[in-house]
């Protein structure tokens, strides 16, 4: 299977040009930055609050931007054009993920600078961030592939935002209803628990359980995305 960086860059470059004329997507990315500004007024910021913003970035920037640009490609029938070109599934998906990756990194860096978050146990946190990014990217791709329009993608994002982006609020809810404890295995909580554990001084080996759960989510969502993409490629729509 060939892989052309030129084709990947062409798709990425097209998305960048398109982004600057798409205020709808651009304004969504600003929400976590505004929240980071608000939270930065209270000091000290607990780890849980840092991860409230970080998880929000993953949902609003990674999931939403990825979902919106793919849903728009479907809405305007441009994804079919890409699928009918010699670009492979890997090239299309890599190219289309470039913009979400760039915006996620920029938003994460800006928000962390604003709130003053500092990494403890860099390897564990970086690995968890990387896997979280991949899993949310896959979630965004799925969101785009399973919805027909940008508006529909925005609507479907709401429950995702509540479950994956408002984790801190949900944790309090889980504390009142122990039967919902299984929700703690959601990747956003696992990321937060991992960060709290390393902040309390635990080593890499102590947090591998959290990393394994996040990795499982990543693999599951990636497989689902590939299956749905391949199905969409021959559905004639």
């Amino acid at each position: 299977m060939s892989f052309s960086l030129k084709r990947v860059y062409a798709i990425f470059n097209k998305d960048i040009k398109d982004l600057f004329k798409n205020m709808f997507v651009l304004s969504t990315v600003l929400t976590p930055i505004l929240l980071a500004f608000l939270f930065s007024q209270s000091e000290p910021i607990p780890v849980g609050l840092h991860y409230f913003i970080i998880n929000l970035i993953f949902v609003m920037t990674t999931v939403y931007v990825q979902g919106a640009i793919i849903a728009e490609e479907k809405e305007k029938n441009t994804l079919r054009g890409l699928m009918m070109s010699p670009a492979t599934t890997t090239e299309i998906m890599t190219g289309k993920s470039g913009l979400s990756a760039l915006l996620t990194i920029v938003t994460l860096v800006v928000c962390m600078r604003i709130t003053g978050y500092e990494f403890v146990n860099v390897p564990a946190i970086f690995l968890a961030f990387f896997m979280s990014f991949i899993l949310y990217l896959a979630m965004g791709t799925l969101l785009g592939l399973l919805t027909r329009t940008v508006m529909e993608a925005s609507l479907v994002l709401m429950p995702l935002l509540f479950v994956f982006g408002m984790g801190t609020l949900l944790l309090e809810f889980i504390a009142d209803y122990p039967s919902l404890a299984f929700l703690e295995y959601l990747p956003n909580f696992q990321l937060q628990f991992l960060a709290e554990a390393v902040d309390a001084g635990q080593a890499f080996t102590d947090v591998t359980g959290y990393l394994i759960v996040i990795a499982a989510w990543m693999v599951l969502l990636c497989i689902l995305t590939v299956v749905v993409y391949r199905k969409r490629a021959v559905d004639g729509k």
Binding site: I11, N77, R80, G81, M83, M84, S85, T88, V234
Partner: protein
């Protein structure tokens, strides 16, 4: 000529509704093949199957001797150009940016030159810098056609390429397609414009209710369905219909001997008339 495309017993069913039923035909390398039928006859579904966008319920379609279900591979996609009615262009980008993206995807060399060439071919060179969202329906159709031509495909699928165009632009496109075909591109053209089919196609297939009901060269079809008569306009405006044969020949001889003939023409039906005869349906 060898076959570039071969369809055998093709069937497509969408939730109990049969869109294509036992379809059989071949397209020879280097020809312009017309696929004629009214809306809903199964033209677009057939293109989707042939280009690997849809897997058929049963039967087979071979392109370049490869099943259409396997054609979704860069090696074959490079040889195919597809233009469908649904534009699929990036509306916030310019015509040039849209075409440039596809030049990159198809690894087209001399991108600027090639973009200019295809825009000339579709009579749209002046709109190169225009944003796609500002284009009319006909212009969008021409940009989509230009995009399908960028990589000089061996086999070009065109779904009603002149449906939204005025006569002048249609003529321009027809000329471009004939030129392209002369250079070796095989064209699979769906249309419900019978004049377009007569002008461009080497062979045509009549499609109705998902079945090919007639397939041949347009001139042969017309001859086959001709009523074997001739209309002669005489001096004074009188028109006479003569039947092909000794009696008609004698009459004609007399008219000509007396210098009475102003015009004469054979009474061949149009493809449109024949389509209605064969399928019982009009083309619109």
């Amino acid at each position: 000529m060898d076959n570039i495309l071969s369809v055998k017993a093709l069937k497509q069913v969408f939730s109990k509704e049969t869109a294509i039923d036992n379809m059989n035909f071949e397209v020879k390398r280097g020809e312009i093949f017309g696929f004629l039928g009214p809306s809903g006859a199964g033209k677009t579904t057939t293109i989707k199957i042939l280009t690997g966008q849809l897997h058929p319920t049963s039967g087979s379609a071979l392109l370049f001797d490869v099943p259409s279900t396997k054609v979704n591979h860069p090696k074959y996609l490079k040889k195919i150009g597809v233009m469908t009615d649904n534009s699929g262009l990036y509306s916030r980008l310019s015509v040039y940016d849209n075409l440039h993206l596809y030049c990159e995807l198809y690894s087209v060399e001399n991108k600027r030159k090639r973009i200019d060439e295809v825009l000339e071919m579709v009579n749209l060179i002046d709109a190169k810098s225009k944003v796609v969202s500002k284009l009319s329906k006909g212009m969008l159709q021409r940009v989509t056609l230009a995009r399908a031509l960028l990589h000089e495909p061996e086999l070009l699928f065109l779904d009603e390429p002149t449906a939204a165009l005025d006569p002048a632009n249609s003529r321009h496109i027809h000329h471009g397609l004939q030129e392209l075909n002369r250079k070796g591109t095989t064209i699979f053209l769906t249309t419900h414009d019978m004049q377009e089919a007569e002008l461009l196609c080497h062979r045509v297939a009549f499609l109705n209710n998902g079945k090919v009901q007639l397939l041949d060269e347009p001139s042969k079809i017309r001859r086959k369905y001709s009523d074997d008569t001739l209309t002669v306009e005489l001096v004074g405006g009188e028109k006479r219909t003569l039947i092909n044969g000794p009696e008609g020949a004698q009459k004609m001889y007399e008219y000509m001997l007396n210098n009475q003939v102003v015009t004469m023409h054979s009474n061949e039906p149009t493809l449109g008339d024949i389509f209605v005869d064969v399928t019982g349906r009009s083309l619109l």
